[in-house]
Amino acid sequence: MLTVKELESGYGPMQVLWKPSLQVKKGTITALLGPNGVGKSTFLSTVFGSVEPWGGTIHYVGEDVTNLPTHKKVEMGVALVPEGKHLFPNMNVYENLAMGAYVKKALEHKDESMEIVYSLFPRLKERQKQLAGSLSGGEQQMVTIARALMTKPKLMMLDEPSQGLAPVLVQSVFETIQKMRDEIGLTILLVEQNADAALNAAGYVYIMHEGLIKAEGKPEKIKGSSEIREAYLGI
């Protein structure tokens, strides 16, 4: 579904990505792991288009989308759950979700998506009139994921969804991610520092270090290799 080849990008004069390649198969959960500051978030931002690619190619559902602007990608069904939430703090929960159905294709399915979202996150239905800025951290993360669902995606990319959450909530976020694949049929690309949780949920894993892919394979293989675990994951 998503094929990234030798991607290069960075900020100003500083190159962050040094030609990592990665593939995400339809209907799977793929995780990109590695410590802080190795380029994982830059990788997602470059695939999404909020950071401009310098080189390499990005193919999505068979089409070359390397230089496509973000709003075109959202329309094609690529969603990003950004790091740091980026909700609209002075809009209520309902308005935040409604903004998710901004692109034309998503707008046509707005009511239907809203029902899916509320069945996945019943708590948000109770809180729909509350301002997003006044929610707890866990609830805000729910809204961020729910808002991405409202864009009617086929591929959802999540940037550190467990960051800053209590262990109980981390577990429920990963359960939600698995539900989205099983019940809604989404394909998922996940960036995580929390390697343990991600290794349990993912079907395929890439390890990134210094802007490069250092290892890849099924989670059993990664878990089985003490060399990889010690060198890159610290577990």
Binding site: T70, L87, P89, Y102, R147, M150
Partner: protein, 295 residues
């Protein structure tokens, strides 16, 4: 007698304040969305004044009809300046956008001077006046006030009831969040800048309906200063805040005029200007986020 005079002046103040408010909405809109302070604000008001003057004197077109024309001219200028200049500077340090808008202001002033000359001009639109007992209001001022209120309402509806309006609101709240919702953030910046300039140029028409004389290429400076005071009063980043800030400013300017006139040996008009800036300083000291803002 005194009360009657004060009431009359305050009514004049509301009428003027609505126009002041409308003339500041563009500044606040651009600041709210792009975080750019348009130092060339007054020059765009001046362009609106010249559009009115030219339409009236050369073609005999009614100043009311000049409002949409000026708005369209402003939108056009806004898009041109956005794509040629501002787009590259959005992520640059603040000084870059300050210098850019300052230069755009000078550029406009000199272009108008080259075309029309630098002498003071005016036009004479005879529409009569209305006596409301405590004071006499020229119809042109009343039209300017009504026009301002209508434009403010239209902007409010556009923001809250249209898809493009919701896109701009989401960019104001969190541009990264807007991007992941599929909003074309660059497009929203361009549209907001153009809309802000459109409103400002249109407000130039309304301001000449108030004072149809003294139109010249350098007339904008005073309006820039007043707009800053009003924007700070209203909370800087909200166009509606700016509108109510304008009302407050009009009331204070006119109300204080009556009061200052009671002090013997004082020239009240000069003091009202002094008061505006005392107010600006006081607000910045006490509540720098703006007197009418909720934050």
């Amino acid at each position: 007698m005194f009360l009657e005079q004060l009431t009359g002046n305050l009514i004049q103040g509301i009428v003027l304040g609505a126009v002041y408010g409308m003339a500041t909405m563009g500044l606040s809109l651009i600041f709210g969305v792009l975080k750019v302070v348009n130092v060339g604000h007054g020059a765009f008001i001046m362009v609106g004044a010249f559009v009115t003057l030219w339409l009236f004197n050369a073609l005999g077109i009614n100043p009311i009809l000049a409002v949409p024309v000026a708005f369209a001219v402003g939108m056009g200028l806004g898009f041109i300046f956005y794509y040629t200049t501002m787009q590259r500077l959005i992520k640059a340090p603040e000084l870059a956008t300050l210098l850019a808008t300052f230069s755009i202001g000078i550029l406009l002033e000199e272009l108008v001077k080259l075309t029309f000359g630098s002498e003071f001009r005016g036009y004479n639109w005879v529409v009569g006046k209305i006596d409301i007992g405590v004071t006499v209001l020229p119809m042109s001022k009343l039209y300017a006030c009504i026009g301002s209120v209508i434009i403010a309402l239209l902007l409010y509806l556009w923001f809250n009831k249209t898809r493009a309006g919701s896109a701009v609101r989401s960019v104001v709240e969190d541009s990264e969040g807007a991007r992941v919702c599929g909003v074309n953030v660059g497009g929203a910046y361009a549209l907001s800048f153009a809309l802000g300039i459109g409103l400002t140029v249109a407000s130039g028409v309304l301001l000449t309906m108030f004072i149809p004389v003294g139109i010249n290429p350098y007339m904008g400076g005073g309006y820039t200063l007043k707009a800053f005071v009003i924007a700070v009063l209203g909370g800087l980043s909200s166009p509606y805040g700016a509108f109510f800030g304008g009302l407050a400013f009009g009331l204070i300017e006119n109300g204080s005029y009556t009061l200052f006139a009671l002090i013997p040996g004082v020239e009240p008009f000069a003091l009202t200007r002094f008061l505006s800036f005392v107010m600006l300083l006081a607000i910045l000291l006490i509540k720098p986020t703006g007197l009418l803002s909720t934050k």
